[in-house]
């Protein structure tokens, strides 16, 4: 991988966020993390077009991952978004409605996530 892709990873579960961050960093991605929807939106505003891909949890307090996805896709429809959730089919259906590119159900294998990232970034 010549270019270092920049990923924004959002999850309110600290353990999951740390493990995703450590896995993706080892795979040579530049990872920025946020533990809630509000911080994620602030990071996106501060770094317009700076992220190559966003991975977001769906069920979070205040601003949900569905909201984050909807806002990102409204501003930049081409930004790839992977939505992850452990809350069953309701949030998954909502994520698809707001055009999340891939919806993954927790628990998933980290290799599966990497495959999804590579597919969306065409690498």
């Amino acid at each position: 991988m010549d270019k270092k892709f920049r990923l924004l990873v959002i999850d309110d579960n600290e353990e999951i966020l740390t493990s995703l961050k450590s896995f993706l960093s080892k795979k040579s991605y530049d990872v920025v993390s946020a533990s809630n929807g509000l911080d994620a939106l602030k990071l996106i505003e501060a770094a317009t077009d700076d992220f190559d891909l966003v991975i977001t949890d769906l069920v979070m307090p205040n601003i949900s991952g569905v909201a984050v996805t909807a806002i990102i896709k409204k501003q930049n429809p081409k930004m790839p978004v992977i939505a992850i959730t452990g809350y069953g089919e309701q949030p998954e259906a909502l994520a698809k409605e707001v055009h999340a590119d891939i919806v993954m159900e927790k628990p998933f294998k980290l290799d599966q996530l990497e495959k999804a990232i590579k597919r969306l970034l065409s690498i």
Binding site: L38, K42, P61, N62, V66, Y87
Partner: protein, 345 residues
């Protein structure tokens, strides 16, 4: 003109930030919090900061109307749809088109109406009662509730699919007792507003002691109760008397400064007497007379300690609330072994 969101607490600061980021998205929103915390102020603020400002803002209280009436109120009806429908009437979803529909007390909506609301939120279309034709609507739905919707779902009272669809944005307003740092700011704002409203010549500035007492009060009725008290203070001008009444009412209901009720009240006599221990009828000292004295002493100790706690151990104020003489109070404190709480430092 709606009210600004007053406060410096972390909760209020975060709410202002969330509003600034999502007001223009039109994403379904739920505002939660106890009665009187100011859910409508938040909904109005969302509306005013959005591009829908100037379009209709319509509020419907879902708890105020019976099911059938609420349905016709929301979706409207055709002439002849039911007995008494003598003319076509537009529903709130149609009237709020391009604007905001605030559904207050959503937790009180029936399951059958929840299903109909879900249908509108999924497809953006609704059919008035008695009509086969569906109408498209572009309405931003902001729901509000003082119920715990998660609990309602587990009890089968609220649809899980509707919950997720509404809960795209969730704004939780803490009760006032959990953010006392906001109280002096609210007092300042509302006293200025009410002075103008009542044409008072000058804005009353309560003493530091009064502000301190108001800040320590647990406000079971939240901001709405604070507003009412401030109005009374402005009209009657006797802050001390009003504070005494508040504290007395508060001690009667057994609400402690954290808003919870005292254990003794919750447990009834079982919390006062230990029938399996020293108050057991098997004890040689047991008699109705001794038990009456024991129970009375323990209740008196609880009540006097509570009132002293509320008055910050101001004995004069406590005597007024308890309606006993100063001498009697001193005797009771000593006889019942009531001691002031240890200071943290």
């Amino acid at each position: 003109m709606s009210r600004p969101i007053i406060g410096v607490s972390e909760n209020i600061v975060k709410i202002r930030e969330v509003i600034n980021h999502i007001a223009d998205t039109g994403l379904n929103t739920v505002i939660c919090g106890e009665s009187g915390v100011g859910k409508e102020v938040i909904a109005q603020s969302l509306y005013q900061k959005s591009s829908r400002n100037g379009k209709p803002f319509i509020k419907v209280n879902c708890a105020a109307l019976p099911d059938g009436l609420l349905e016709s109120e929301l979706f409207g009806y055709e002439k002849g749809a039911f007995t008494g429908a003598d003319r076509k009437t537009r529903g709130k979803f149609e009237l709020a088109n391009k604007g905001v529909l605030m559904l207050d007390e959503i937790g009180d909506m029936s399951l059958s109406l929840q299903a109909k609301l879900l249908h509108v939120l999924q497809g953006g279309a609704f059919a008035p009662l008695g009509s086969e034709k569906e109408f498209k609507t572009d309405t931003w739905v902001i729901a509000a509730t003082n119920h715990e919707l998660e609990k309602e779902i587990s009890e089968g009272k609220f649809r899980e699919d509707l919950y997720y669809r509404l809960n795209i944005i969730k704004i939780y307003i803490q009760p006032l007792r959990e953010r006392p740092e906001d109280i002096p700011h609210l007092i300042d704002y509302y006293l200025k507003e009410y002075s103008l409203l009542f044409n008072s010549d000058k804005i009353i500035q309560p003493s530091d002691t009064v502000i301190d007492e108001l800040t320590r009060y647990p406000w079971p009725g939240n901001v709405r109760e604070l507003q009412n008290i401030l109005k009374r203070m402005l009209v009657l001008g006797d802050a001390e008397k009003i504070l005494d009444e508040m504290n007395s009412r508060n001690s009667m209901t057994g609400t402690s400064s954290d808003g919870s009720t005292s254990d003794t009240q919750a447990m009834g006599y079982k919390g006062i007497l230990d029938f399996n221990g020293k108050d057991s009828p098997d004890e040689p000292t047991f008699s109705l007379k001794t038990i009456r004295k024991t129970a009375l002493d323990r209740v008196e100790k609880e009540v006097i300690s509570h009132v002293l706690g509320k008055t910050g151990w101001n004995r004069s104020k406590a005597t007024k609330i308890l309606k006993i003489s100063y001498k009697t109070l001193l005797y009771k404190i000593s006889d019942l072994g009531i001691t002031p709480p240890a200071k943290a430092d």
